[in-house]
Symmetry: C2
DNA sequence: CTGTTAGCGCTTTCAC
DNA sequence: GTGAAAGCGCTAACAG
């Protein structure tokens, strides 16, 4: 192993002092260095292929230029968020440490991490509407710049990136209604055992009811627990429907179950049933046959926006900004909701 | 901001010297410390909620206990690999830095990173059979402990985790044949513009030919470029098939196109056509209707195995191990390949 | 404007 | 056994 090249070596070769080398590299304001010397230094850096030791620098400055992202690696959304975060980090020359859900304790370990690694900031991908008092207290006490993706909708003092679920449902319904002219049925999936919708699903549901009332239509809501293996439940309901009918489901999982039922009943999606999803949890919408129309959540953009805000916070750029960043959903029209004959305008 | 707690503070409070504190924390061999003092130190650490500064430590020791993972964040496989890597890191108390494809230069930047951040090792998720001479030369010159996932199958001196694609095809064919008793047609997708199969696809293809010959059957191979929008190509071929027929496709994308054609021709997957995929690129197999049978690649395990090997390398545990880790594919039987009537044994 | 120097917090060697 | 001190590579403050 060859010996490490230090700023000392560079200084010696360029015939200057180490302070100058540092000034050249960091463009330290208040230190003027002659053009000639600067060139010398740059040349020496090039020739020795020197690069600063980030550890030593951050030890001195107290800033590591590292942020940490924490989330559930089982969840494909987290990958998208990471992608956005990663881009922001690259753009602003930060590094990204990755931590995954492992045990219950691990979130607390992040605080420890903050001390150990001198992480400059922390970003977590939470489930929609997640709130954890204790955690927020810890973060605040530790003085960590912090940002949540999808958490803490009701806590103004916590920075987070949020989705406007109500608006996303309106977007979906406007489209579905324009395509089909049919009053959409809302199929609401939930995680058992009890019906306890999270923040996002509550907003979606009320968005639906609101929209229907606006149009003077009667809301029709089907509720079913996800994971419930009960094909006949679906078959009975769908069999009783007039054809064609239009359905909007809060989770794409619901779309999948409707497709399965249609297969059993020998109904055709896109002809007998118009189906649309209000998310893309499984990231399979476009691969279903026929491809499932949906409103989808811009997780990459959320990650990017969140990371930029976090970096602003770290660098003290945004002293008194609003704590919430709201993101709009994106309409993805596909084959499951063709334009119904005679509705062209 | 409260002042940082240092080992000095701990030492003072525990009434010992800093060397002892260090010895207690790291269990330094060759330094014996009395049980009483040890207890004192631990108590002081607890009371002051002290944690070592990783930067300072790694500056001193030259080891950062950090590895970096690099890959394409657009690719869902990479998330799975990351998951495995992350687990290995947690188990062995390492930290994980994440870098994504951004520009062409960024891979070179990893080398720089190695110097700057004192990364202990590097892991890349490459495309199947990827090889890059120049990169390997750079890595070797820099002396970076390095591991590739899916790359460098033919370079014995490079450490990598590989999949046995030939065996995976045999596994798929054995299953498909047992279920249906039909000679499977092989549907080979490729990325255009020219037919230039990668390492994995070459192995799959020869695995198919080999298996068919073993059974005394004539190989039938359809080739189609992915992204080619040509529904009639599929419809004509599939229409000409005797029913039922069995098809195995190298990419799940092929399964998707077959499903679409079946929909147009009003054929039923699982009754008229038995379909199976030899991968799960889109991670949508189980959400297709009917769910698509496949052999799938254990990317989580690959990441984990790769990371553990990398850490072994870093810690000098495995002086002369074989450079390749071979992983077997996993059979995932689903609804698209039901047991054909009368074939129960 | 340039050069010297103090220290960031830790580990490890070397005297005691 | 224990304590002092050197030094990892850097930046910022302070002399010259």
């Amino acid at each position: 192993m060859t010996k490490r090249v230090t700023s000392h070596d560079v200084a010696k070769r360029a015939g200057v002092s180490r302070g100058v080398v540092s000034a050249v590299i960091n463009g330290t304001p208040g230190i003027r260095v002659s053009e000639e010397k600067r060139r010398e230094v740059l040349k020496a850096i090039e020739e020795l292929s020197y690069s600063v030791d980030a550890q030593a620098r951050s030890m001195r400055t107290g800033k590591s230029k590292c942020i940490a992202a924490y989330g559930n690696l089982d969840n494909p959304f987290f990958l998208q968020v990471l992608q956005g975060v990663q881009r922001a980090c690259t753009e602003r020359d930060y590094h990204l440490l990755l931590y995954g859900h492992n045990r219950q304790e691990s979130k607390q370990a992040l605080i420890k991490l903050f001390n150990q690694r001198r992480i400059d900031g922390l970003l977590t991908k939470d489930v929609t509407g997640y709130e954890d008092e204790e955690w927020i207290a810890m973060v605040k006490e530790a003085g960590i710049p912090y940002m949540s993706i999808e958490g803490y909708p009701d806590r103004e003092e916590v920075q987070s990136v949020l989705l406007d679920y109500g608006a996303s449902i309106h977007l979906a319904l406007d489209y579905l209604y324009a395509q089909t002219g049919l009053p959409p049925i809302y199929v609401e999936m939930y995680n058992g055992p009890e019906y306890a919708p999270n923040w996002g699903d509550r907003n979606r549901r009320s968005g639906y009811v609101e929209w229907m009332q606006l149009k003077g239509l009667d809301p029709v809501i089907w509720q079913q627990r996800d994971g419930e293996i009960d094909p006949s439940w679906w078959d009975e309901r769908i069999r009783s429907l007039p054809l064609p009918s239009a359905l909007l489901t809060n989770w794409s999982q619901g779309g999948f179950l409707i497709y399965q039922s249609a297969r059993r009943l020998e109904l055709s999606i896109g002809r007998d049933l118009y189906v649309m999803a209000a998310d893309n949890t499984m990231r399979a919408n476009e691969y279903m046959v026929p491809a499932l129309s949906a409103v989808e959540m811009p997780y990459v953009e959320m990650g990017k926006a969140g990371a930029h805000r976090l970096l602003d916070l770290i660098e003290g750029k945004q002293p008194r900004a609003a704590s919430k960043i709201w993101m709009p959903a994106v309409l993805a029209p596909r084959e499951s909701t063709p334009l119904v004959n005679g509705r062209q305008d």
